[in-house]
Symmetry: C2
Amino acid sequence: MEDHRIMEGLAGITSGQRALGALSTKERNTMLEHIANALEQQASRIFAANGRDLAQAEREGLAQPLYKRLVFDDKKLAAVCEGVRQVAALEDPIGRVRERRLLDDHLVLERIDVPIGVIGMIFESRPDALVQILSLCLKSGNAIVLKGGREALQTNRELIAVIREALGQFPVGSRWIVHMESREDVGILLGMDDIVDLLIPRGSNEFVRYIMEHTKIPVLGHADGLCALYIDDEADLDMAVAVAVDSKCQYPAVCNAVETLLVHASVANGFLPKFKEATTTWPVTIHGDGRTRDVIDCMAAVGSDWDTEYLDYEIAVKVVDSMEEAIEHIAQHGSGHTDAIVTGNEAKARKFLREVDSADVFWNCSTRFADGFRYGLGAEVGISTQKIHARGPVGLDGLVIGKWVLAGNGHIVDTYAKGKPFLHKELSIEGGSLFGEVDE
Amino acid sequence: MEDHRIMEGLAGITSGQRALGALSTKERNTMLEHIANALEQQASRIFAANGRDLAQAEREGLAQPLYKRLVFDDKKLAAVCEGVRQVAALEDPIGRVRERRLLDDHLVLERIDVPIGVIGMIFESRPDALVQILSLCLKSGNAIVLKGGREALQTNRELIAVIREALGQFPVGSRWIVHMESREDVGILLGMDDIVDLLIPRGSNEFVRYIMEHTKIPVLGHADGLCALYIDDEADLDMAVAVAVDSKCQYPAVCNAVETLLVHASVANGFLPKFKEATTTWPVTIHGDGRTRDVIDCMAAVGSDWDTEYLDYEIAVKVVDSMEEAIEHIAQHGSGHTDAIVTGNEAKARKFLREVDSADVFWNCSTRFADGFRYGLGAEVGISTQKIHARGPVGLDGLVIGKWVLAGNGHIVDTYAKGKPFLHKELSIEGGSLFGEVDE
């Protein structure tokens, strides 16, 4: 029965997406408003469903961090609804003209941003992630296939039911949403490379790595955030300590927290005792190499420490003889997420920024800035360590792709094959696109 | 021995790429000039090697189209060298600042275009494709792993040897090039998703489809070009005939040639006889549905005709009752490459441009315009029907990706977590990037 409904939903998802993508900015924003209002009005239903999930989780002894993420209360609801309304207020990511070129008289080429198509989302316990990604897809005209964690099934089901009801009054309805519920559905979703254009997984590193390794669908995200901070011999040591402490301790459980500290030998004596002293506020464990342990008292680092994303108050520290050694260490052990240098030498900083091949490379600031909201992207789809499509914090831009549109007056290629040259004159990208006003 | 050399080459390719990507625009352009000069000076060596391939091909009875593509003569050499010099003359795709934002006082964020990393190229017989893609990779600072067809092995090996010699005088040399020769290497390359960031296959549809189905590496390209042209009831019929003839007959063996003609019932009587008459210059076979055959004499279309990319003087013709039926037919049978409408009704054209979900959607012009050179992209990496990263004709832009660079003055996230607001002020993207002058 359930399977049948999913297959029906999938059969109609492409036409559902086409209908959604053809709506005006205003219509999509109105739908977002209706979703936020409905979630508020139907809060008790959602809380009741969440209560059933929480009771089940308690019976099964779900680990505390997962249990906390499963809770969907007043506070989470308010944050979710504020998020949906913020997405509604953002500039429309679709319909923007990125290039406009006059190929010849009356032959105009445009590259216009359009929805990617069908986004697949697989997420672990947090039900708020469901609403967040669903609203980003609605804003950007993309259909969505959702598969949440088993532990949040009742909550997710209720959220989807409330959203479907809220969208019922719009002609497009919720034909652009497919909700998968069973564990077997994950395998089905990962194999849907003919329907799903992009997968966005949300969850633990192991979970994301599993997704990446078991699908041919492009994945937007990152499995690891093994970030390094290099303290140069020309660093201001007070600044270095402040940046290192913030990068490690401000919130250690996240992907952009630093895991490895590389310290130039010339400043090891000056920096390391200060750093150790500054971290005493938190229960920080330092894993130092031999030369670090010559300066401060700490645990001995083993080989695996250089490849470990602790996600906790733990840090690996290595003394290096040059910036080049630091860059090489990052190339060998980093995950291409976020790496930073503290130095007063501009030329060295520029070399580091150029040569470290990571999504985010920073100079004299904390690795913790690697984040879509801090970057001013409005909404964050995720942080990608892929090297195509989108890299680093990804905003709504990551959910659109350029489509080439050409309007002529009976132009044929034979004319140009016979020698007529093209004009190839760049035109202003201001004004409406060849799509015209959608509301017409 | 050969395997050993390949493994050695692969081991050094990442550092080779880093060195290449760090070179100035001028250095990379000088290397391109040296390659073009060397190819001209060493022409006789290359022609001799090509002669050996051709002799072998004759012995093995290679099909004529493949044999023709294998030929590397004076004319091909001149075109290849002109191509290399054109690439040298193009604007540098790397180092461009795409976004610049002041997050707070003295905290500047930039998104800068950088090389993707390592490009894998697998191509069938044409040796000129080797030089073309290699020069695009050099221009964009990407390393390349090349695997050519067995039938062109001698030519490819000589081209690579000449290029390596030409690059010998530069410090970076050719450490960013790995040339694979054996059939077994294809499997190795397809499995190198930890090293290769993007694959560009060049060859037949079957070949590209095989590549796409046997790798986890993102593929830039298209397996099929099943393009449709819809003749609306409000079309200028003379224009419709000219566009249809050009789309089919100007060069039928290519991906952007039209394969399916969808004709509105109201103009079937007016259009079809004219179209048939206009195509008599070429040996065109028409596969028509029943309603087409009510108007003109032609072969009966069978179900598979709507899904066949003929790549020849053959076309499937269907009479439809509305533009919506045409759009639905394209959604069902098209390959998302290039589709076009001929109509005098602007509102209908705009709807078609919006709703047809293909890389290139045209109004009143030939499908044959879907091409990087005609679009004015300078150099064409390929035509993509993927829906992420790059879509349609792809220029050098498709070989770069944004990298986020943030420069501060000791800024830490804790300050903002405690309530300080971000400025998020957009800055002009003019001027040099935080990478600074590479030649400094």
